[in-house]
């Protein structure tokens, strides 16, 4: 969870942001062989805080703006409640299915870093590759036109292959364990210095290192629960530290009269 999402949903200050970010899930790597599954895919991440009353309509209009005429398609909101135990975060929402294809995760965050969120943010995560394949009507993600005359395959295929090899076979487990501990220690040190933003960076590095170790099959059953707990603890401390730091600054984005 990028800082603009995880941190900005905390505390009382309103915020509206949209950005593209890559999402890496080592366990989903398929060496570039699977036409639908990637180790790394791209999301268009939108945070609207507080959640507007017409947020669903806004989302549907955005699909229209992409050229999708919803009256000619089978669109459904199906119950799916996102959660990230590592970051102490969860929400209530749906996966949006378009003619059977999941294209978006739509969530009203309820908690992050173990803290109750107020006001509630709506998070809309568009799966760009998915939407792309839907619009372009191609059978494989790799056939997507990236831009100009360049296909997705030409840009990303080699990367998928090499990173799958790394995640599943080549990653140096001992080094990763050491890194996990180093990242954790640095995060704690920075928190003590009240440098919350860099501290969160290191929390994310811990989380990603955990994912790498997990996809490598390197974490034993007893260790796994413990490690998740350690990352979670960092996330919760970051969350508290962030809110405290914003408070010290007087919650600058709040303005004289809170909107809505």
């Amino acid at each position: 969870m990028a800082p603009e999402t995880f941190l900005r949903v905390l505390g009382p200050e309103p915020y509206r942001v949209a950005y593209v970010m890559p999402s890496r899930r080592p366990a989903d790597g398929r060496y570039g062989d699977n036409p639908n599954r990637l180790y790394k895919h791209h999301q268009y991440q939108v945070i609207l805080k507080p959640a507007p009353a017409d947020v669903q309509d806004l989302y549907l209009e955005s699909l229209g703006a992409l050229g999708i005429n919803l009256a000619d398609h089978d669109l459904r909101f199906e119950e799916d409640n996102w959660e990230s135990p590592t970051l102490g975060a969860w929400g209530i929402g749906w996966q949006v299915l378009l003619d059977g294809l999941e294209i978006t995760q739509f969530t009203y965050f309820q908690q992050a870093g173990g803290l109750d969120l107020y006001p509630v943010s709506s998070e809309i995560t568009y799966g760009l590759e998915r939407i792309g394949t839907f619009i372009a009507q191609v059978n494989s993600i790799y056939d997507l036109p990236w831009g100009g005359n360049v296909s997705y395959r030409e840009v990303r295929h080699r990367e998928e292959f090499e990173f799958s090899k790394y995640n599943f076979e080549a990653a140096d487990v001992e080094m990763l364990f050491k890194l996990f501990n180093l990242f954790e220690a640095e995060c704690k040190r920075l928190l003590k210095m009240e440098l919350v933003l860099p501290a969160y960076d290191y929390c994310l590095r811990c989380s990603h290192t955990f994912n790498l170790l997990d996809s490598r099959g390197a974490i034993s059953v007893t260790e796994r629960v413990g490690m998740i707990g350690r990352v979670r603890q960092l996330a919760c401390q970051v969350a508290r530290g962030y809110v405290a730091s914003r408070e010290m600054q007087g919650f600058p984005l709040q303005g004289p009269s809170p909107s809505q």
Partner: protein, 690 residues
């Protein structure tokens, strides 16, 4: 009295399919109940729902409460008025207390004499006014398994509420809940309807929604879907695979359902049917079709949320998605079989079963230890070898890609991979079946080996959890221990196994190095709860359960046979009479206290008591043999045949005779009877019906 219709529609963002029906009914229940509390009657109620709305209509609600009239009695006339006819302090105090002048009161004749009384009238309020409070209160009573908040006022609901239509007497019922104010506006289908519509009655709501792409009545949607499914099935030349649960789900996922038929590459039919059907139903909510021989056809039926002419693109979209999923499944099927199941045992060390109970590798070791003993206990020692083989394999599929992707297929996939590897049917089928029964309504394993493996696996889970204090409570049962317990009993009953629960539990607890009595006690209570639950589901009444379970339930099959016998005999007149007599006998014996003697038959002087004794001697061996054969109905029937002699005894014989020796002898006779009647269970628990 004028009566009118109440109509309320709660408009929300898509509410989970599984909670819709319950929520709508809870809302209706709450309204009717709250109306009743206000002395307002209600007529026919209509409950409709779609993912985006809960609609309740209640007919014939009086527009006004009835005036309430009550008579309050004060002091007697003699106390209220003095000899001169003037009111006394008592009368004045009464008048003051009620706030009513004495002139408005009167003297009434009551059974106790003449009293000062006052009639008090409470004017009935207008229903419309009351509803402004009742409806929000009813909304607040709807309970969901999971709620959220979304707006400033932190009102909680399953999903954000966005509008409320509330009409009474064809006029808007205005109130506010959360950040929503009620109105006469509703919204049509998101894409093929208009967003702002009006309705002031139940019927007009249904019609305006229908004209805007919404079938608000779930019964109508069901019909459209069922008709569509059979039509498309017929067109394809195949037969629909019935799936009641999926049907219910899709009714609750759509506002404007339509059925489309798509196809997939026949080469995927090389994959086992179980996998194909699971892929289609679990992720995509598709229905499957089979040919006349029951083999899967390369088609699927999807229920979509829009009735449009332009289905081609939608169909292609669904086909593309299904193709990707089937390609995944085919990929897994190929890749998984590159390793043998057995080779995966080591990897089970990395799959956590439970934090304190270890990995699935550890679980497997425990199963291998338990299986031979369980097989022996179940009188199936010849299955020991098959069980060892199946036990080794049964958890290996947890580390296959197929099960990691389709967790519902655990066990099934293990069995299928086992079959592909050439294991004998007795072995792979046991693995295939060992997660059955999935619920108390679904079948338990069909083979004995499968049943024993399933039993042992669940036994290990239940005893393991109890051994670390993970006892299921009302609010928490994360490992579904209760369901596992149900499964254990269901398997024992379906297989007609005569086993001792205590011995099974001891076996399992030993593998956890536990022999604590308190744990055994908790398990005992737990299994009693599960057994009662199952018996109730089988339609047995509370008193029969108590009667049949009173001698214990260590042999669950035996316990169920007893309870069933009581349930069968419950209506028989003779039996009920006997139960009453037994209660009477018990009471007499309880009062008499204990005594140590032998019955002296020669001391039985009255003919009634001699007849009773002879009757008893005659039927005793028959009852005993019936009990030995677990034929409890026969035992009870034979006992009930004693009814006449028992009745006659109580009519003609004085148990508490003056003569102490005779009295003791009669008590001894009754004690023998009591023992006999207790042979099946505690008959005194049987209550008279009505």
């Amino acid at each position: 009295m004028e009566k009118a219709e109440l109509l309320v529609e709660l408009g929300a963002e898509e509410i989970p399919a599984s909670v819709l029906e319950s929520a709508a009914n809870q809302f209706a229940d709450a309204l009717v109940s709250l109306l009743g509390e206000q002395r307002l009657s209600s007529g026919q109620r209509t409950v409709w729902y779609t993912p985006r709305r809960l609609v309740v209509g209640i007919q014939d609600i009086p527009t006004r409460q009835e005036d309430l009239s009550e008579t309050i009695t004060g002091p007697p006339k003699s106390v209220a008025f003095g000899p001169d006819g003037n009111p006394t302090k008592a009368a004045l105090a009464f008048a003051q207390k009620l706030g009513v002048p004495l002139s408005r009161m009167k003297i009434s004749q009551t059974p106790k004499g003449e009293y000062l009384t006052c009639v008090r009238r409470l004017g009935g309020q207008r229903t419309a006014q009351l509803l402004q409070e009742l409806v929000p209160a009813a909304i607040a009573r709807i309970k969901f398994p999971k709620t959220m908040y979304w707006s400033r006022d932190r009102f909680r609901f399953a999903r954000p509420l966005r509008w409320i239509l509330a009409i009474y007497r064809n006029r808007v019922l205005k109130f506010r809940i959360g950040d929503i104010v009620s109105s006469r506006f509703t919204a049509g289908h998101r894409f093929i309807g208009r967003p702002r519509l009006t309705a002031t009655s139940l019927d007009s709501l249904r019609e305006v929604l229908r004209a805007n792409g919404v079938l608000v009545d779930p019964a109508e949607r069901l019909k459209v879907i069922v008709d569509g499914l059979s039509r498309e099935a017929a067109k394809s030349g195949g037969r629909l695979v019935t799936d009641e649960e999926l049907l219910k789900t899709v009714v609750n996922l759509n506002e404007c359902p339509a059925v489309i038929c798509g196809s997939f590459d026949p080469q995927f039919l090389d994959l086992p049917q179980e996998i194909l059907i699971t892929v289609m139903r679990e992720h995509q909510k598709y229905f499957s079709l089979v040919d006349q021989e029951g083999k899967l056809l390369p088609f699927f039926l999807a229920v979509i949320n829009v009735d449009t002419e332009r289905r081609e693109e939608i169909r292609k979209g669904h086909e593309r998605v299904l193709k990707a999923r089937l390609a995944d499944a085919a990929f897994f099927w190929r890749m998984d079989r590159k390793s043998k199941l057995e080779e995966r045992m080591e990897s089970l060390r990395n799959v956590l079963f439970q934090e304190k109970l270890g990995s699935y590798y550890d679980k497997t070791q425990r199963l291998l230890e338990l299986l031979p003993a369980v097989a022996k206990m179940a009188d199936s020692p010849e299955l020991a070898n098959d069980l060892q083989a199946a036990g080794r394999l049964c958890k290996c599929d947890l580390v296959t890609e197929m099960v990691k992707e389709f967790t519902d297929l655990q066990g099934v996939v293990g069995g299928l991979y086992g079959r592909a590897e050439g294991y004998p049917e007795s072995v792979w089928r046991a693995v295939y079946e060992h997660y059955q029964p999935k619920s108390t309504n679904s079948p338990s394993p069909g083979t004995r080996a499968g049943a024993l493996l399933a039993l042992t696996d669940r036994l290990d889970t239940v005893c393991g959890c109890f051994s670390i204090g993970l006892i299921p409570t009302g609010s928490g049962d994360p490992l579904a221990v209760r369901r596992q317990g149900n499964g254990i009993l269901k398997i024992i009953l379906d297989q007609r196994m005569r086993v001792s629960l205590r011995r099974l539990m001891d076996l399992s607890l030993k593998t956890y190095m536990t022999d604590r009595d308190d744990i055994a006690l908790e398990l005992h209570k737990f299994f009693e709860g599960r057994l009662r639950f199952l018996l109730e589901e089988m339609g047995n009444s509370y008193d029969c359960m108590n009667a049949g379970l009173s001698p214990g339930f260590d042999d669950p099959l035996d316990a169920v046979e007893r309870v069933r016998a009581f349930q069968d005999m419950r209506k028989a007149e003779d039996f009920v009479a006997l139960a009453l007599s037994f209660k009477r006998i018990q009471n007499i014996l309880n009062q008499a206290g204990s005594f140590d003697s032998e019955l002296n038959a020669s001391m039985l002087s009255e003919s009634a008591e001699r007849a009773l004794w002879e009757n008893y001697l005659r039927i005793l061996p028959e009852v005993q043999s019936a009990v030995r054969e677990h034929d409890y109905v026969r035992a009870l029937r034979v006992m009930a045949s004693m009814r006449q002699s028992v009745d006659r005894f109580f009519n003609e014989v004085l148990v508490m005779a003056e003569d102490q020796a005779m009295k003791r002898n009669r008590l001894l006779l009754l004690r023998e009877l009591a023992r006999l009647f207790s042979a099946v269970g505690d008959i005194s628990e049987i209550v008279r019906e009505g």
